[in-house]
């Protein structure tokens, strides 16, 4: 990856050492991400991996003393490139066993550093520089590709490598201090014959014999007493522009210094140049830690394809041919390390780091890695699979001022000079550096450091600065790991006195990788840079490269922390979300040394040992690797780049749009103030605060937002903007919502047939994440009051939980009655507002923000489910229909870059119900509405259809500015009769002011419907068509983030573990407690009116045909449960069908009438006479039990059938309704039938009843005589009664009995009743929930094992026939 602009490898090497005190081993990993070669884009990230658990240790090649080693094999890079263009990972690792860190504050250290500094500044560095120049000369002189180098003399190579290494190390000793001094002494080159395995040796031998030339330098061992130096050495090597190739090359070229640039064996400079440039030669850096005679080794092996003229990788060929060597040379190619193995060493005592370079060259071919170990690969792979990343944004508050530092001076040195100032310098420099990293500044401009640089030798300043930057970055990551360890894994607090064995124990629980990712801006630049190289390598200027060399690519906007499991990731988020954490950074010695060097004073070094840095409020989110992988699968062949290039595509698209947009011709929204659109509502500040917006954006539009794969429109184009659907996918090609398995809902088909025919493609198309939900089940959500929801939202904001917040916002939206808000706020007007409110109120021009917010939130907070009655009354007064969308089941997230828009369209009528809710985040935008002419109403169903409106002058137009954080509701006409669009342009004009657009993320909440019925399509009557459509079930999850597509086993386990199963009914305990609403407005009422109820209704014996037909179809001898039997109205029908009935009701008085009624009615009635003797005997024996319908006291599957008639509408929460259905299912055997009837919101035209809301109080006019218990047995048939029937007809019989006094008395006796003096009646209020069409089916869908056979509407009631199926 020579062309890897983002990752000039030089910068990036991370060595790793985990905070030396507690960790047993750690690994640094360099990750190289490449997309397709054309883009030549690569991102290098750095990771530090801490071993989660020790891997099995294998004895790998090299040293005989090795007993524990971990090897990493590298797969064939070519295959990799083909198979997986998304990502390539490379790892460098250093493994170290660390001894507890001693505070580096003693004088000896200072002295050592000072000592080591002196010679370097005078000699080593210039010489190094010089050497490099020589290298450059060498390479520029190379010409042909055809020859390969021959190196026979291992000793020669060894020597050259060794000498070269010395340069490097002496160079880096500036920052390494005393460690390097040791390192230098200990550095040895182990040549291949002595160190390689037999296989390796054989290979070597072969290649020697072969004229194709091979060169094998296997190990350069560097022994150091401190892992810190091991890490730093690798870092230095790369920072200095060396890679393991370079080592090899350098060795050659250093020989050329002696031997006039020719290899003694004839390969000459040519060889060395080639060896360096061929990036395919994946270098192998093995850094192993040797201690106590135990050598831990990590090896990366790669197939090596090197050979003059035989390079097959075009990318590299391009590099070789086009690039000028002089520009390329200083940059080290990032190595293609691709596997990572970790070993946790036993208790460390002494640390040895070995750096080995191993380059095997075989002409024109590839050698399989010598040490590949399948088992380890498998294990490694499984580990990688498990890793979940947490993405951290805002690790340092962007405002930067929040970064407060405090230096903690350690033991005061005896030196007298201005320690304070020096410490101040250190703090300032570290702070500046970090800020520069974290804010993504490409060039680090910290005056202090710059000043230091100025004062020091200019030739080395860049390099030095780079090193200092590296070290500071390392220090930062160390600090972060410390913090992780402190907060996550040892809650008691990290103690520096932790012994090493303890720390190992800790470390074994650790599985943390820390990545830092480049900023978007930086990345972009990297892209561009790469593209330049790719297009014409020659054009890439040297300054460009210099730039890239000098500045590390890893300027970190955000950070990834990889955890080994979902649980760990969740825990991390829970612990750190929204918090500020304190990092204790140890300023690197290099910095201290640098300062000392630049000051050129004889003063002792500054003694600062740690700096405390307070981060900004962290934004954490899941960055799920599996998610990305799955995405890639979903994308399939459509896009070669998949998720990795999502942004990239977008960049191109937006660029394209920029060109075509019309930046200067935007209309002013205020010019259309006079136009009113009925049904359009705008709520300002629906997203309460900027914080809330930020939290949402971080999750929804952050770098890991799970955008959907590209979709195609009907016309064959593709959606330009980024889109994601939740709940249900909207298919732009068919302009319809994809309904998963619910397609046949309501069409009478038996579920399960069509699945077989579906192929994977369709499945993939249907695949989208579920809606986020605030509770595992819908029932639990529904039990929450609105206050609970608001509390949840507030909590989510406070803890920066993006997905939770989204769930809360959706739930909030489901609960708001927009009618009440609009009417409540209509009193407050604001002349300057831009939007016309709907509802035909001409003057209702809009609302200032605060009033809207308060009214929206206030009304939401005020209207708990129990208060819905009051709400209803309010609505009645206002003569409003409620505008509520409780079934919202689909969310679409669109990202509009400036310049992007959407075509004029009306959302597909058959796909979505009335009520589109748009929430704007990020930047405001002007939405344009155009009235649809009647004749093309039906033609404009298509989303993405660009309006061709200009010709129709008579069409009215309305511009509405949607400010950030606002919500727009399109209902009624605004939804069906007006098209809406967003013009593609860069600016909007709002009230005469030009407003540049910003990135806007819009959330569209809609209610997806079942398939339209085919029958009444004629005439295009929307209402008719939609009458047969019901909302699809809400498909949601409370596992965050919502995952894409089918669950893997692992994910399913996670689901199960977190108890978020969506299938089974989990009821909350509170479901079973009768709410006050029900006990007061249902139970008490029926207890009171039982007698009259029986006399006025039961006696008439009017049975609904649906129910009787249902009962007649039952086989003889069936056991039928009548749940909520009331006065036993259906007992006779059941017994007539030769079935045995068990009647249940919660009202004992009603049950008594039931027990009694079977006598009078059947004995007296003519029907009874027709029955046989046996039948008569049976018909008088109903079994009745006082019981609650949500706690039915019957055995599981003990009944053949169940009926539940006119009961469900008295249950006041959805949880209780579902619970009731679940009970019905439970008591019925598999295959048994259930008939449920409940009051319908939609009443027939001739009915006297009109329900204005779903939750209402229905009066029952009771006559006092029935209420008087003493008069219960009076003959009342001929007396007057005014009673309402469930059919809605008011019945008047004769009027002879007036007992005013009694009535009044009765009214006082019953708390819930009122006295109607005019009619001398006691009026009871019964609570009823009116079911919308499809609501019952929706409830049934939530109960496993219930299948809807048939649904119908009968005399003001919705009826569903259900069958119990196997669960």
């Amino acid at each position: 990856m020579v062309s890897d602009g983002g990752g000039d490898g030089g910068s990036g090497n991370c060595g790793d050492e985990h905070g030396q005190r507690e960790r047993g081993g750690s690994v640094v990993r360099t990750t190289t991400t490449t997309t397709s070669r054309d883009r030549a884009r690569a991102v290098v990230t750095f990771a530090t991996v801490l071993p989660h658990e020790p891997l099995p240790i294998s004895n790998s090649s090299s040293s005989s003393s090795t007993s524990s080693a971990a090897a990493a094999a590298v797969a064939d890079p070519h295959n990799q490139e083909q198979n997986d263009k998304l990502t390539q990972y490379g790892y460098v690792h250093i493994q170290g066993a660390f001894t507890p860190k001693q505070p580096a504050n003693n004088n000896s250290t200072v002295t050592a550093i000072a000592n080591s500094l002196a010679p370097i500044s005078e000699e080593s560095q210039p010489s190094d520089q010089q050497q490099q120049h020589q290298h450059l000369d060498n390479y520029s002189g190379r010409g042909n590709n055809g020859k390969m180098c021959k190196c026979h003399d291992i000793t020669y190579i060894e020597q050259t490598v060794k000498s070269n290494l010395k340069h490097l190390l002496s160079f880096s000793s500036l920052s390494l201090g005393d460690h390097v001094a040791e390192s230098l002494l200990a550095a040895t080159v182990v040549s291949s014959p002595s160190s390689s395995t037999p296989a390796q040796s054989a290979a070597t031998a072969t290649s020697y014999n072969n004229s194709s030339n091979s060169c094998n330098i296997s190990r350069i061992r560097l022994t150091t007493s401190n892992p810190y130096s091991a890490r730093t050495i690798v870092s230095r090597l790369r920072r200095a522009g060396y890679s393991p190739h370079d080592l090899l090359v350098s060795s050659s070229s250093s020989s050329s210094k002696n031997n006039s640039s020719s290899c003694p064996h004839g390969c000459g400079g040519r060889y060395s140049g080639k060896a360096l440039q061929v990036s395919q030669v994946a270098p192998i850096i093995t850094t192993s830690v040797e201690e106590d005679g135990v050598n831990m080794q990590n090896e990366t092996n790669d197939d090596l394809v090197v050979g003059g003229g035989e390079h097959h990788d075009g990318e590299n060929d391009d590099e070789d041919n086009d690039g000028t060597s002089s520009t390329r040379w200083p940059r080290a190619a990032p190595p293609k390390f691709r596997r990572l193995m970790l070993t946790l060493p036993p208790a460390p005592t002494e640390t040895t780091a070995t750096i080995s370079a191993n380059v095997t060259r075989v002409k024109g071919g590839r050698t399989k890695s010598l040490l590949s170990d399948d088992e380890k690969e498998v294990e490694m792979e499984s580990r990688r699979r498990k890793t979940r990343f947490v993405y951290v944004e805002n690790i340092i508050d962007r405002t930067a001022i929040a970064l407060s530092t405090s230096s903690s001076p350690t033991t005061t040195t005896t030196a007298s000079c201005n320690v304070d100032d020096e410490q101040g310098d250190v703090v300032a420099i570290v702070t500046e550096c970090l800020l520069a990293f974290l804010q993504g500044n490409e060039s680090i401009q910290h005056p202090s450091l710059a000043a230091l640089l100025q004062s020091s030798s200019s030739t080395t300043s860049e390099m030095m600065m780079g090193m200092v930057e590296d070290d500071i970055r390392h220090a930062f990551m160390d600090a972060l790991r410390d913090a992780l360890h402190r907060d996550l894994f040892s809650p008691a607090g990290f103690s520096s006195s932790t012994t090493s064995s303890e720390s190992i124990k800790h470390a074994s629980h650790l599985g943390v990788e820390v990545f830092m990712k480049p900023t978007a801006g930086n990345k972009k630049k990297g892209n561009k840079h790469n593209t330049d190289i790719g297009n014409g390598g020659g054009s890439s200027s040297s300054s460009n490269n210099t730039n890239a060399t000098r500045h590390p690519p890893g300027l970190y906007d955000h950070l990834h922390i990889g955890m080994r499991s979902h649980e760990d990731a969740t825990r991390l988020i829970r612990l750190w979300q929204g918090k500020c954490i304190t990092l204790m950074i140890h300023p690197p010695q290099s910095l201290l040394g640098f300062i000392a060097l630049s000051s050129k004073s004889t003063d002792p070094l500054p003694t600062t040992t740690s700096i405390h840095i307070q981060t900004g409020k962290l934004f954490l989110d899941y960055a799920d690797r599996l998610l990305s992988k799955r995405m890639k699968k979903v994308v399939g062949g459509q896009s070669k780049d998949g998720i990795g290039s999502g942004r990239n595509n977008n960049d191109i698209d937006s660029t394209h749009l920029l060109a075509t947009g019309h930046p200067y011709t935007s209309e002013c929204t205020s010019s259309t103030d006079h136009v009113h659109i009925p049904g359009l509502y705008l709520l300002h500040d629906y997203i309460d605060s900027a914080d809330m917006e930020q939290v949402l954006l971080a999750a929804l539009a952050g770098p890991h937002a799970p955008w959907a794969p590209p979709q195609y429109t009907q016309s064959g184009g593709s959606i330009k903007r980024r889109v994601q659907h939740y709940g249900y996918v909207f298919d732009y090609e068919s302009s319809d919502v994809l309904r998963r398995d619910y397609d046949e809902y309501g069409n009478g088909n038996v579920a399960g047939e069509k699945d077989a025919s579906r192929d994977d493609e369709v499945k993939a198309k249907h695949s989208c994440p579920p809606l986020p939900s605030i509770r595992p089940t819908r029932q639990m959500v529904l039990q929450m009051t609105n206050e609970d929801v608001e509390e949840f939202v507030t909590d989510a904001v406070a803890h920066v939980k993006g997905w939770e917040l989204l769930a809360g916002i959706i739930e909030r939206t489901r609960r708001i009655n927009f009618a009440s808000i609009s009417s409540a706020s209509s009193s407050s007007r604001h002349d300057n507002d831009l939007v016309v409110d709907g509802d035909g109120d001409e003057d209702n021009a809009g609302h200032p923000n605060e009033q809207h917010e308060t009214s929206a939130v206030a009304s939401l907070k005020a209207s708990t489910p129990n208060d819905s009655l009051h709400q209803q009354q309010f609505l009645d007064q206002q003569n409003h229909k409620p505008l509520m969308y409780p079934h919202i089941n689909q969310l679409t997230i669109n990202e509009y870059n400036p310049g992007q828009g959407i075509g004029s369209h009306v959302d597909t009528e058959t796909a979505f119900d009335d009520g589109l809710l748009l929430i704007t985040l990020g930047g405001g935008i002007v939405m344009e509405f155009r009235e649809v002419n009647d004749d093309d109403t039906t033609a404009n169903n298509d989303e993405e259809k660009w309006g061709d409106n200009d010709t129709k002058l008579e069409r009215r137009k309305k511009l509405v500015y949607l400010p950030p954080r606002s919500l727009v509701l399109l209902s009624g006409d605004a939804r069906y009769k007006w098209e809406h669009m967003i013009v593609s342009r860069m600016t909007d004009t709002v009230n005469g002011k030009v407003v540049p657009r910003k990135l806007r993320v819009s959330l569209t909440l809609r209610t997806a419907l079942t398939k339209p019925s085919k029958v009444p399509s004629g005439g295009g009557e929307r209402q008719q068509r939609q009458a047969h459509q019901v909302p699809l079930p809400i498909y949601e999850t409370a596992v965050f983030p919502p995952r894409w597509g089918q669950l893997s086993d692992e994910d399913a386990d996670a689901f199960a573990a977190s108890n978020h199963t969506t299938g089974s009914v989990i009821t909350d305990r509170t479901d079973l407690v009768t709410p006050n609403t029900e006990s007061k407005h249902v139970h008490d009422v029926y207890d009171a009116i039982a007698t009259q109820w029986h006399h006025t209704r039961g006696k008439r014996g009017v049975l609904w045909p649906g129910a009787t037909q249902f009962l007649e179809k039952l086989p003889r001898g069936s056991v039928v449960a009548d749940v909520g039997c009331g006065d036993g109205k259906y007992f006779s029908a059941i017994t007539a069908a030769s079935s045995y009935v068990i009647g249940m009701d919660i009202s004992e008085p009603l049950l008594k009438t039931a027990a009694a009624s079977t006598v009078d009615e059947t004995l007296d009635g003519p029907q009874y006479q027709l029955l046989s003797k046996e039948k008569r005997a049976l018909s008088v024996r109903p079994a009745v039990v006082v019981a609650d319908c949500i706690h039915v006291p019957l055995r599981d599957e003990s009944c053949d059938a169940a009926i539940c008639i006119a009961v469900m509408h008295h249950l006041s929460t959805e949880g209780r309704r579902v619970r009731c259905l679940a009970e019905l299912r439970r008591i019925v055997k598999v295959g048994g039938l259930i008939n449920v009837q409940a009051w319908a919101l939609e009443q027939e035209d001739d009915s006297k009843r009109k329900f204005h809301g779903t939750d209402v109080l229905v009066p029952f006019n009771a006559q006092p005589k029935y209420l008087d218990s003493s008069s219960q047995h009076h003959e009342c048939a001929k007396e007057s009664e005014i009673a309402e029937d469930e059919d809605g007809r008011i019945e008047e019989v004769s009027d002879t009995c007036k007992s005013k006094g009694v009535a009044q008395m009765m009214a006082e006796k019953y708390s819930g009743a009122e006295f109607d003096s005019k009619k001398n009646l006691v009026v009871f209020q019964r609570y009823c929930h009116m079911y919308r069409k499809g609501e019952l089916e929706l409830l049934c869908a939530k109960v496993p094992g219930l299948e809807v056979l048939e649904s119908s509407y009968e005399r003001g009631n919705h009826v569903v026939s259900l069958r119990a199926t196997q669960i």
């Binding site: 407690v1073 003889r1116 056991v1119 039990v1185």
Partner: protein, 171 residues
């Protein structure tokens, strides 16, 4: 499965004239009725609270026996948990006057499986069916309690109607 069901019939005590008619076939429901501790996790529950025990205060047996509907009994039989029925009969038999027939330990499998043959008159079977009908449909628990075998919770039976409502703190 065994042979018979018991029906405890609960009779409204105040109006004797209606007793014969307002019957709660408790033994039938007993084989069905249960009480269990609430577990929010599952729809289906363990049957700890089954079968319920009977505490008799007032009981009434139909005299003379009501006419037997053979077919109905046979249809019903497979749905009856015979051991539970037998247990119930044993519990309330001492209070019955006139006495009710005893039930065999095992229900003749013919009754359950071979219903066509039964119709071809087997006297023994007919007697058995009559016995079953008797215990199932002719016995009424007027006052008393149903007692959960697991928790000891007593559900009162008044005027032939058991009240199975749980208190709020029991949920």
């Amino acid at each position: 499965m065994g042979s018979m069901h018991h029906w405890i019939q609960i009779v409204e005590s105040s109006e004797v004239s209606q007793l014969a008619d307002a019957l709660i076939h408790l033994s039938c429901t007993l084989t069905i009725i249960t009480h269990y501790p609430f577990d929010p996790q599952y729809i289906f529950r363990t049957e700890k609270g089954y079968p319920l025990n009977i505490e008799v205060t007032t009981i009434r047996c139909e005299d003379p026996p009501s006419p037997v509907d053979k077919e109905f009994v046979l249809n019903l039989l497979p749905k009856i948990n015979y051991p539970a029925l037998r247990q119930a009969v044993q519990q309330f038999a001492p209070y019955c006057n006139p006495p009710i027939p005893e039930l065999p330990e095992e229900l003749d499998s013919i009754l359950l499986n071979d219903q066509t043959n039964i119709n071809q008159n087997n006297e023994m079977n007919d007697a058995m069916i009559a016995n079953l009908h008797r215990v199932l449909f002719d016995v009424y628990l007027v006052e008393g309690y149903l007692v959960c075998p697991d928790t000891g919770r007593k559900f009162p039976v008044k005027e032939c109607i058991p009240n199975m409502i749980l208190h709020e703190d029991e949920i």
